[in-house]
């Protein structure tokens, strides 16, 4: 972008009401990829949703542990609360797993350790999906 183009005032983005974007973000949170499908982007929804679900399922199959929001010193609090929030961001798959009795204790071993990271990674991927759905519904992205 040239210096002149940068000086041109850009039109203000229309203020999208919360009643329009909140349901989409909630749908995107609850079912990974569903926000994109709801916004008529089924291929993108299928791709990001399946990547998130596969990440979550591999985490479960590797017997990763869900983080508990326990507190202690700063680092421990950051890891546990942050990990718990990331787990919650997976949406319904997380609640389904816990309701069906998945309760893997945090044990030593690289497979369990990777499993925990896959479970957290699925939540973080779903946050990206939610942000993308929000950008679509607010018109910042096609």
């Amino acid at each position: 972008m040239s210096a002149d183009a940068a000086k041109i005032p850009q039109p203000a983005k229309p203020n999208v009401p919360i009643t329009k974007w909140l349901p989409v973000v909630l749908i995107a949170w609850a079912i990974p990829g569903a926000g994109h499908v709801y916004l008529k982007r089924p291929m993108r929804g299928a791709l990001v949703g399946s990547a998130t679900i596969i990440c979550f399922l591999f985490g479960l199959m590797m017997r990763g542990a869900f983080f508990e929001p326990t507190t202690g010193d700063l680092l421990l609090t950051l890891i546990n609360v942050g990990g718990h929030v990331a787990n919650l961001m997976t949406g319904i798959p997380y609640y389904l797993a816990t309701w069906l009795g998945y309760n893997q204790p945090d044990v030593a071993g690289h497979v369990h350790d990777y499993g925990s990271k896959f479970l957290v990674g699925a939540g973080l991927l779903n946050i990206l999906n939610m942000v993308d759905a929000w950008e679509i519904v607010t018109g910042e992205k096609d």
Partner: protein, 61 residues
């Protein structure tokens, strides 16, 4: 739920692949850019994986 056991390499490559797919899809505006960026991210993950792997091996002697 079946139990699986992936080694370090398999787990890292799988995670890199899944993250690259999502990053490619959500950050770019058309399919060509998405493919390119997804492949770029995957390449960066692989370079980091092998680079750090060799660094640790050489560091251990």
């Amino acid at each position: 739920m079946p139990k699986i056991s992936l080694n370090h390499m398999e787990a890292s490559i799988l995670l890199a692949l899944l993250i690259s797919v999502v990053l490619g899809v959500v950050t770019k505006k058309n399919d060509k850019e998405r493919w390119n960026y997804g492949l770029y991210c995957f390449g960066c993950f692989m370079a980091t994986l092998f680079g750090l792997g060799w660094l640790m091996k050489l560091g251990h002697g």
